[in-house]
């Protein structure tokens, strides 16, 4: 029994950190996102060259065929650096959807290009309600109609993978007639969001051999965003501690004041158990499929709460400077805010966690009979 990361996983994280330290420092980040949300293609190629975009792609298609855990650990480090790349969509959601539900031909065509980094995929999935403004698409005879909001992915995406109202997954070519893409701008410029209108768009059904592909893909996305928050929150905590050990007021380091010290201790005390929760959720994704959805909901909901609390507290420890653009702390603050809402906000995820445990079923039934709920 070993509850922890392997030497290999730790050294993979370390080499990624070394790469990002030189390739994705704060000044780089600032210049890249100066004109709004972007996907940094140079950085992406760097990740591809390290073999990190194909971690989840089966070996038969040139990938490493590793469990979700390894990709999640990469996402954690990307969160540490607030790296402006669409890793969740193209290196986690897309390869899993294709591997779980793609035909041989689809896999052969697309998976190798995920490995070499030449393919970007946008992904828009939902498995637990959460539709705003009645967005959603309907599939009839492999034609999609409707509107998707908050699709994740790079502007250069050649493919779209989406779920329809009935819960099936579809693959759509970017150049298919009837597609209209509009960039949505969130507070977080390190990731891209899209609104996509579809009118009679030809789509290929992604049909799993057995079971359901949507639930595992959603779970993986949630675990990934939870990992991103873990990394980002750890960076904010580290920066707060470092700042409090530099900044002097009243002839003392502010970090020697218990008021400040206790804020940092509370952040650490909340964040550290999240690491074990996240590891277990990532492990359970492959090893304990029965608990996959429950743990993905818990990991993302809990890290959403802890992350936003740390984003706020760490900013406060920096005093007025934390509030300025000069320190760039806000990139991580916004990154954490983004992760909290996308693929399910904490309250929705907790409701789903209760549902999968059969809690509150009676009330759900009553509400359904009365109509209007959900």
């Amino acid at each position: 029994m070993d509850f922890g990361l392997s030497e290999q996983q730790l050294s993979m994280q370390e080499s990624l950190r070394r790469y990002l330290q030189q390739a994705a420092g704060l000044e780089h980040l600032r210049s890249v996102v100066a004109d709004g949300p972007v996907h940094d293609a140079t950085l992406w190629q760097g990740l591809a060259d390290m073999g990190l975009t194909g971690l989840l792609v089966p070996q038969a298609y040139g990938g490493l065929g590793l469990p979700l855990m390894d990709a999640v650990l990469v996402q954690e480090v990307l969160g540490e650096f607030a790296a402006p790349v669409c890793f969740t969509a193209s290196a986690i959601l897309a390869p899993l959807a294709l591997a779980l539900a793609g035909s041989d031909a689809q896999q052969e065509k697309w998976l190798p290009r995920l490995v070499d980094g030449s393919l970007q995929v946008a992904v828009c999935i939902t498995d637990a309600g959460g539709s705003r403004e009645d967005a959603g698409v309907t599939a009839v005879n492999d034609k999609l109609n409707g509107r998707l909001m908050f699709a994740l992915g790079a502007a250069s995406a050649e493919l779209l993978i989406c779920s329809c109202r009935e819960g099936d997954l579809y693959l759509v070519h970017r150049d298919a007639p009837g597609l209209e893409w509009t960039s949505m701008r969130s507070v977080d410029d390190t990731r891209c969001l899209w609104e996509i209108k579809l009118r009679e768009v030809a789509a290929e059904l992604l049909l799993p051999e057995a079971g359901d592909a949507l639930a595992p893909v959603s779970a993986a996305g949630r675990i990934a965003l939870a990992a991103d928050t873990l990394g980002a929150a750890q960076t904010m905590l580290d920066k707060a501690v470092a700042y409090s050990c530099e900044r002097q007021q009243f002839d003392r380091l502010i970090g020697s004041f218990q008021a400040v010290k206790h804020m940092c201790a509370e952040m650490a005390a909340e964040l550290e158990p999240c690491r074990a929760l996240l590891w277990y959720a990532a492990y359970a994704y492959d090893a304990v499929p029965d608990k996959r959805t429950l743990l993905a909901c818990h990991a993302k909901a809990h890290l959403g709460e802890v992350g936003t609390s740390i984003a706020r507290t760490a900013t406060e420890v920096h005093g007025g400077m934390g509030f300025t653009d000069l320190l760039g702390l806000h990139y991580w603050f916004k990154r954490i805010g983004f992760n909290r809402q996308v693929l399910g906000s904490p309250d929705r995820l907790r409701a789903q966690a209760a549902r999968v445990q059969g809690w509150g079923v009676q009330a759900d039934r009553l509400m359904e009979q009365g109509g209007g709920y959900r």
């Binding site: 029994m1 070993d2 509850f3 922890g4 990361l5 392997s6 855990m69 501690v241 409090s244 050990c245 003392r252 380091l253 970090g255 020697s256 004041f257 218990q258 010290k261 206790h262 940092c264 201790a265 509370e266 650490a268 005390a269 909340e270 550290e272 158990p273 999240c274 690491r275 074990a276 929760l277 590891w279 277990y280 990532a282 492990y283 090893a287 743990l295 818990h298 990991a299 909901a301 809990h302 709460e305 309250d347 907790r350 409701a351 966690a353 209760a354 809690w359 509150g360 009676q362 009330a363 009553l366």
Partner: protein
């Protein structure tokens, strides 16, 4: 990550399960502190024989004499918790004094005290805190004055659980009044029957006297009763405190409490609907479930860290703070879920769970404060875990002349 047990450990797990199944009729009522009942002592002896408690304590001192195996200890704890079986005797003698004696005691002290303590024949209490020495324990003032072969002890201890029934006390006393405060303390063992000791129950907000105050007036203790060297009691005590901190905030307790809370919310109703059908209560429950799971996995991470010989510092330092707080939050939600029923106490009609939720809700505050307050824990996390600077020392505060 590989959470599967080796064949050896899997076999061991089955052994423990079989044992618990076969012995269920012999289980004594679950009570781990205070004087052990005859059934509890027989159960303890059986557990030692099987190696399910006192596992790695040498046979000559009454233990099982097995090789230390953290994973087996973990399996034992897990299986006992799963079956709802009472574990071995706990209490401060077994969990704190015994490991200290095994590390620092003389052969005579080990011979004399360890075995009867393990068997539940000798009950101990801990004399550390004083009215004027709580978080700043090293400022303690109970004096032990050199009188030839003996020390003459005068002073007062507080928060002394089980003092009213204990046979013995392990205590910190000031033997060198002129030395700096951390270097003037000695660690003494003394029988509670010694003339000059008076025990007064200390009733707490729960309505019960879980603690006592102990007063010493010219109490004569032979010098041979010191553990470790004279004046080095602070270091000896730190050996012991390390064992206490490990006990507080146990995530298994949070897991048990959470399961009880789920049952409560499934069984109790409000306006004819299950409490589980109340979306706000359900949301609060799921919120706490994530925290319970996080602390349980954190515990597994610590266990693996110990097996590897590299314990992640922050993950360990936060256990007492987070675990005690979480237990308190679980009791608070149970009370809220029960509403007016949650208020009932003592022997009221309609009382739920024998009043345990209110009792725990209040007693948890004692655990949040005791064993290093939450604020002291935060200082430790910040200074030892995050490397933040210590508070600069100020000029000493004026002596308060004994006012509380």
């Amino acid at each position: 990550m590989d959470l599967a047990y080796s064949p050896e450990h899997k076999k061991f797990q089955e052994e423990v399960r079989d044992f618990l199944q076969q012995t269920q009729p012999q289980w004594p009522p679950s009570r781990t502190v205070g004087r052990a009942s005859p059934e509890a002592m027989r159960w303890q002896a059986l557990l030692i024989e099987r190696g399910y408690t006192a596992r790695s304590i040498p046979r000559e001192y009454g233990g099982h004499g097995g090789e230390p195996d953290l994973l087996k200890s973990h399996i034992i704890a897990e299986e006992f918790a799963r079956a709802g079986a009472p574990g071995g005797l706990a209490g401060q003698g077994i969990s704190m004094l015994v490991p200290t004696l095994l590390e620092l005691g003389t052969p005579e002290q080990k011979e004399r005290y360890v075995k009867p303590t393990l068997l539940g024949e000798m009950l101990w209490c801990q004399g550390y805190s004083e009215p004027g020495a709580g978080s700043d324990l090293a400022s303690l003032r109970t004096s032990a004055v050199d009188e030839g072969d003996d020390f003459l002890v005068n002073g007062q201890k507080i928060w002394t659980s089980t003092a009213h029934e204990a046979d013995m006390m392990f205590a910190l006393v000031r033997t060198e009044p002129d030395a700096p405060k951390h270097r003037g303390i000695s660690y003494l063992l003394l029988p509670m029957s010694t003339p000059g000791i008076e025990v007064r129950p200390l009733k707490t907000m729960t309505g019960h006297a879980e603690f006592n105050e102990v007063f010493f007036t010219d109490v004569r203790v032979p010098k041979s009763s010191i553990v470790g060297n004279r004046g080095e009691g602070w270091q000896v005590a730190n050996t012991t405190l390390k064992f206490e901190r490990g006990m507080l905030g146990d995530p298994n307790e949070a897991g048990r409490r959470f399961n009880d809370l789920v049952t409560l919310m499934q069984e109790e109703t409000l306006d004819g609907l299950s409490l589980m059908d109340n979306p706000l209560l359900r949301d609060s429950l799921v919120r706490l479930q994530a925290k319970v799971l996080a602390m349980q996995y954190n515990g597994m991470r610590l266990l693996s860290g110990e097996l590897r010989g590299e314990v992640p510092a922050i993950a360990r330092l936060i256990v007492k703070l987070q675990g005690c707080e979480l237990n308190h939050q679980l009791a608070a939600l149970a009370i809220d879920a029960l509403g007016e029923l949650g208020l009932l106490y003592d022997n009221s009609p309609r009382l739920r769970a024998e009043g345990a939720w209110q009792r725990k809700y209040m007693f948890d505050l004692g655990l949040i404060i005791g064993g290093g307050t939450a604020q002291i824990q935060k200082n430790i996390i910040a200074e030892r875990g995050l490397g933040m600077p210590r508070e600069p020392k100020l000029a000493a505060a004026p002596q308060s002349g004994g006012a509380r």
